[in-house]
Assembly symmetry: C2
Homo-oligomer: 272 residues x 2
C-alpha cells in the first residue's frame, strides 16, 4: 500500500492526525525497561503498542539510534519489522546527498530498514531527491520550514523574487517533485503564519508538523493554519512530551494519556 | 590533536592535498576481497593501507555503509579504529538536525564512531550546527556549493541582497560559526568560478573539494581557484576513480597509481 494511503487509513481508523516521534534518550529510559537486554528497543516497542490505536504514524528519529552505533541501527531495523501493523513508519533521517550516495541512502531507508517514508533535506537540489522520489509507494517528506529558531538563518532569507527560500522549496515540491504523489513537506507547528502561506500555495501536499508538545508550538493555531479543505492532510508529531509523560511514574499509561490528550486537542482544532 | 592540524601535518608529510573517499559499492568490490568475511571492511582497509602515504585525509561515505544495515555501521566504526594512524578521517554524513537530535548525531560521529571530522548540511541554520561546533578539536565541514548539477536549484538562488545563497552560507561560516577555528566548507571542484569567489571572501577557511576523478571536475582550475595564500587550505577528494581504478585488474596497485597521479596533478597545479 502507498504511504499516503496508509496514513489516511490509520487517521480514519484511529480518528487521529497524531504521530508519536521516537527520540529515545538512553539517559531517560524509564526504569521499568532498564533491565531488558535491549532497553531502547523494549521502550520504543512498548510506546508503540500503548499508542497504536491513537495515532496515524510513528516517527523513529534515526540520530538517537545511530548514537548507539551498530546496535542502534539494528534496533531501528527490528522496530520496523516488529512495529504494530497498519501504522506507517516515518524514518526521521533528514538525508540529502548526491547521485550514487542518495541511491544508497534510499536503499538503506526503504529496503534495508524497510520504512514507509523518510524525511529529506532539500539543500542539494532536485537531483539529490530523485532516487527517493522514484519509490512511488514510499513517502518523501522534504524539510521546508523547520521548527527551530535557527530555521530563520537560511529558510527565511528573501530571494530576489521577493519570496522566502522555504516557499521556493514548497513550490518545487508541488510543481517538480510530486509526479508520483508521494511528496510531503516538514513545516514546524511553531510557525502558524508560514504554515498558512504554505497551505495556500500547496493545497494538496501532506504536511508533517513537528514542534507540538515539548517544543511548545501552538497546536490549535497550527492545525487551523495547516489542514486541507477536507480537514486533514497533516500529521502532527510529538516526541518527548509523550515518551517522558510519566515523569518518573509508569511510562505507558502516561504516554497513552498524553497521546489521547493531544489527539483530542487536534480533533477539537480541526472541528473549530 | 586538532583536525585541521592533523590535515596539515599529513599534507606536509605526504606532500599531498588528496583525500581518498571511501564509497564502496557492494556490487563493485574487487574479486580479491569477495571471499573475506567482511569484504567491504577488507577492501576499504586495503585501499587505506595502499594509499596512506599519498593522502592528507580519508573520507568514508556513511550512506554506503548504512545501506548494509547494522553490519555496515559496525564497519564504519572498525575502520575508524583500525585506519592507518596520523591520517585524519572525515565522516561524509551531511548531517543536519535540531537540538537534542543534533547532539545525538554529534555524539554518534565524534564519540561513538570516533571520526575526526564530519560533513554537515546548513539548511536548518546555526543552532543545528552548534552541537558539532562545540567539539573544538574536530572538523565541521559545512556544505556550501555542492558538486552536483542540482546544486543550482537552491544554492545558486539570488537573495534580495544580490548574493547567491551559497555565499550567505560561506559568510556565516566565516563570521559566526568559526569561533573554535574548526569550520570548513564543501565546494565542488566542478565549480571553479564559485570556488574563486568563496576563497576571496573566506581566505582562511579550509575548503573540501569533491568532484575530481569520476565526476570530471577540472582539477587544475579548481586548485588554482581555491588554494589559500600559502598554496594550501584545500582538500581535494576523489572516490570512485581511485577505488575502481583497476577496472577488473589488481585493485591496490591501480588505486595507488591513480592516487599518485592525482597527487602529482594537484601539486603541479599548486606550483603553477
Amino acid at each position: 500500500m502507498r504511504f499516503q494511503d496508509m496514513v489516511q487509513q490509520a487517521a480514519q481508523r484511529n480518528q487521529s492526525l497524531l504521530c508519536v516521534g521516537l527520540d529515545p534518550d538512553p539517559q531517560r529510559i524509564p526504569a521499568q525497561f532498564a533491565r531488558e537486554r535491549a532497553p531502547l528497543y523494549a521502550f520504543c516497542m512498548a510506546i508503540m503498542e500503548a499508542t497504536a490505536d491513537l495515532v496515524c504514524a510513528f516517527k523513529p528519529n534515526s540520530a538517537f539510534f545511530e548514537a548507539l552505533g551498530a546496535p542502534g541501527f539494528e534496533i531501528l531495523q527490528r522496530l520496523a519489522e516488529d512495529a504494530p501493523p497498519d501504522v506507517p513508519l516515518i524514518l526521521d533521517a533528514k538525508r540529502g546527498d548526491i547521485g550514487s550516495t542518495a541511491e544508497a541512502y534510499a536503499r538503506a531507508a526503504f529496503e534495508q530498514l524497510g520504512y514507509h517514508a523518510v524525511t529529506l533535506n532539500p539543500y542539494l537540489g532536485g537531483d539529490a531527491l530523485a532516487p527517493f522520489l522514484r519509490y512511488a509507494d514510499r513517502g518523501c517528506i522534504v524539510l521546508c520550514k523547520t521548527s527551530n529558531a535557527g530555521s530563520a538563518d537560511f529558510q527565511d532569507l528573501v530571494l530576489a523574487t521577493g519570496e522566502p527560500l522555504y516557499m521556493e522549496v514548497a513550490r518545487r515540491a508541488r510543481d517538480q517533485w510530486n509526479a508520483n504523489k508521494n511528496v510531503g513537506l516538514v513545516v514546524g507547528a511553531t510557525h502558524p503564519q508560514q504554515l498558512r502561506a504554505i497551505r495556500e500555495r500547496c493545497p494538496e501536499l501532506l504536511l508533517l508538523l513537528p514542534g507540538i508538545g515539548a517544543q511548545g508550538g501552538d497546536l490549535a493555531a497550527a492545525v487551523a493554519a495547516a489542514v486541507d479543505i477536507a480537514g486533514a492532510g497533516i500529521i502532527l508529531s510529538a516526541s518527548r512530551s509523550v515518551l517522558y509523560a510519566a515523569n518518573g511514574g509508569d511510562a505507558l499509561p502516561a504516554a497513552r494519556r498524553e497521546a489521547m490528550h493531544l489527539r483530542a486537542a487536534i480533533n477539537a482544532a480541526r472541528g473549530a
